[in-house]
Amino acid sequence: MVREGRTRGERITLAHGNGGRLMHALVDRLAAHFTNPILEERADAAEVRVGGARLAFTTDSYVVDPLFFPGGDIGSLAVFGTVNDLAMKGARPLFLSLGLICEEGLPMLLLDRVARSIKKAARRAGVRIVTGDIKVVEKGAAQKLFINTSGIGPITYAGRLGVRAHPGDVLLINGGIAEHGMAIFQARNKMGFLADIKSDCAPLDGAVRRCLARSKRIHFLRDVTRGGLATTLNEIVRVSAVGVEIREKDIPVRPAVKKMCDVLGFDPLYLPSEGRFVCCVDGRDGGSVKAAMGPRARVIGRVVGGHRGEVHLLTRVGVGRLLPMLEQDQLPRIC
């Protein structure tokens, strides 16, 4: 039950939306109102049964600022983000809804540009926008444009994904981390000198289908979004009651991203991606699944039975330490 008295006077802060520990606490608090077995799974998408069909169903809201950034925009993000949540359930994304909240004064041409981007992204991901809604709010009541998309699609994979990772699994990732976070940061701060960092925003359903075709022993998939890889791994150990061990030197970070992280004092493990996912697969199938994930896929660690609920990181100098969830958002350092 939610104990309201204890938190009287407490308010929502930006940290409640950063994907880290506080956001998880908030989700727990809210989910307590609606408790049911489907919600309890806390997967990227809910698995629902309608008649004889297994469907994946999900929703997500997009409030990115700026609306356009290197490698993508709010429109493509709104399509791929929801498509990816369905893909993590082994589903074939088919239909999306599109809800727009526009701030008074938004240029019509800008909205057209976003719509064209949505169309292009939907075509790329093989989904159709089949229903939608538009609301306009007074100037200042929203920031230019917010988008919500919900998505649905049949689950074609016979096994049950997203239930738990198993000890003995290897952990794979399909490419360099932190690229979306760094692209947004540079766009937001108009740092024009970093033209070679682009958002990794992309649909993942194709890569996921290839992986699922290669192995029947994939136990868990999750896309890396807010809170970065560190937070995704903590989510995995939390829902699976296992431990995870990763090696810092095996985690792919593109040199330009690494350099910018050094300059700004950011830890790339906590910066978001929008086109990366982690796959927990039985060690025997690690090689073939890695090949299916794409040319930039890497093995970053393994799932273990010990230290349940904890992510252990082996640093470059060979020291093990705990990798916690994101607490407060990272800020650029001063000197």
Binding site: R11, A15, L22, N189, D262, G265, D267, T315, R316, V317, G318, V319, G320, R321, L322, P324, E327, Q328, Q330, L331, P332, R333, I334, C335
Partner: protein
């Protein structure tokens, strides 16, 4: 063979973070201790300076701007974040130039930038102030809480409470200052200094160099960060700094009042001095009860010595600045030290 313990101080907050992130303390041989120094700009800012900034932020028509890390640092009467919640116009900027831009866009408002930082940051502030004067922007001022690192290192060695045997010197600051100012530390106190980068391998190499210099009793200044630091430093940046600012007495958290350790506006630029423009009354400042930040940033105590650490003081609800700042020792211990 038994050796005396060696105590080395990493001065810079970025080094503190990098050391914690890589877990370097755990690979060092027994007897070698790394201490965190006063190189986190947010942490060394005196409570009184924060209180003054809060008081200015409450003035009519003021837009207060500062670095993100400052938003949550508690003064005696709350934080900038609290002020923002009360409806005052407080904004985070990533550089002083952004604050100047806000001043241009809001000519009827008074834009104040609260500046903290060391020799790395202050030349960019000097450049901004010079530009503001050139462009005739009159509604812009800077609350200078900038610090110079060398007086602080000397103060630490004079008191010797932390029993420091050598310094891992700040890499970024040294890009500006060069290695020469460290020579006087070697001469006066006989402590070796190594300027090094921020990769784990840079830091380990620097530690090795310090240990060798200490054991051989041959203190000297070594640049292990040759890809960025030259002995003469960046003369242009220093000249720029020198046209706008002059050294002045400043108060530090933990170290107290140190002569010629802060930066004040020169006469020609005093129109941009927020202290002159806003003669606010600042009541006597209070330190949060039980907070050991002052001793932590002098290397005398470690975060785990503090009774508040991890209990009353967490990144979510920080009591002292060392837990707030992304370069703070307590934040590094909390995030990486477990």
């Amino acid at each position: 063979m038994k050796r005396d313990p060696i105590r080395l101080m990493e001065v810079c907050g970025t080094h503190t973070m990098a050391i914690a992130q890589a877990g370097i303390k755990k690979v060092l041989p027994v007897g070698i201790t790394l201490l965190s120094g006063p190189g986190c700009p947010v942490c060394v800012t005196a409570a009184r300076d924060i209180d003054r900034a809060l008081a200015i932020g409450r003035q009519r028509d003021v837009i207060m701007t500062t670095f993100g890390d400052m938003m949550r640092v508690p003064g005696s009467g709350g934080t900038f974040q609290d002020l923002k919640k009360e409806g005052y116009d407080i904004r985070v900027v990533y550089s002083c130039l952004d604050a100047l831009e806000i001043a241009r866009r809001h000519p009827r408002k008074e834009v104040v930038f609260m500046g903290v930082g060391f020799e790395t940051t202050s030349p960019t502030i000097a450049a901004t102030v010079r530009r503001a004067r050139k462009e005739g922007v009159r509604n812009f001022s800077v609350l200078s809480c900038f610090k110079l690192i060398f007086p602080a290192l000397e103060a630490l060695l004079v008191s010797d409470a932390a029993r420091i045997d050598g310094f891992i010197c700040p890499g970024h600051v040294s890009v500006i200052t060069g290695s020469r100012p460290y020579e006087s530390i070697v001469r006066r106190f006989g402590k070796p200094c190594v300027i090094t980068g921020f990769e784990p391998s840079d830091i380990l190499k620097g530690i090795g160099t310090l240990i060798r210099a200490h054991c051989a009793r041959r203190p000297r200044v070594v640049i292990e960060y040759k890809r960025a630091v030259r002995p003469e430093g960046n003369r242009r940046a220093r000249a720029l700094l020198d046209t706008v600012f002059e050294a002045t007495t400043a108060e530090w958290r933990g170290l107290g009042v140190l002569k010629k350790s802060g930066l004040a506006f020169r006469r020609a630029f005093r129109d941009f001095d927020a202290v002159r423009r806003w003669p606010v009354r600042v009541p006597a400042s209070r330190m949060p009860a039980g907070c050991l930040c002052g001793q932590v940033l002098c290397g005398v105590k470690t975060p785990t010595d503090c009774r508040l650490f991890g209990k009353k003081c967490t990144p979510e609800h920080p009591v002292g600045p060392c837990m707030v700042s992304s370069e703070g020792t307590c934040a590094a211990f909390y995030r990486y030290g477990r």
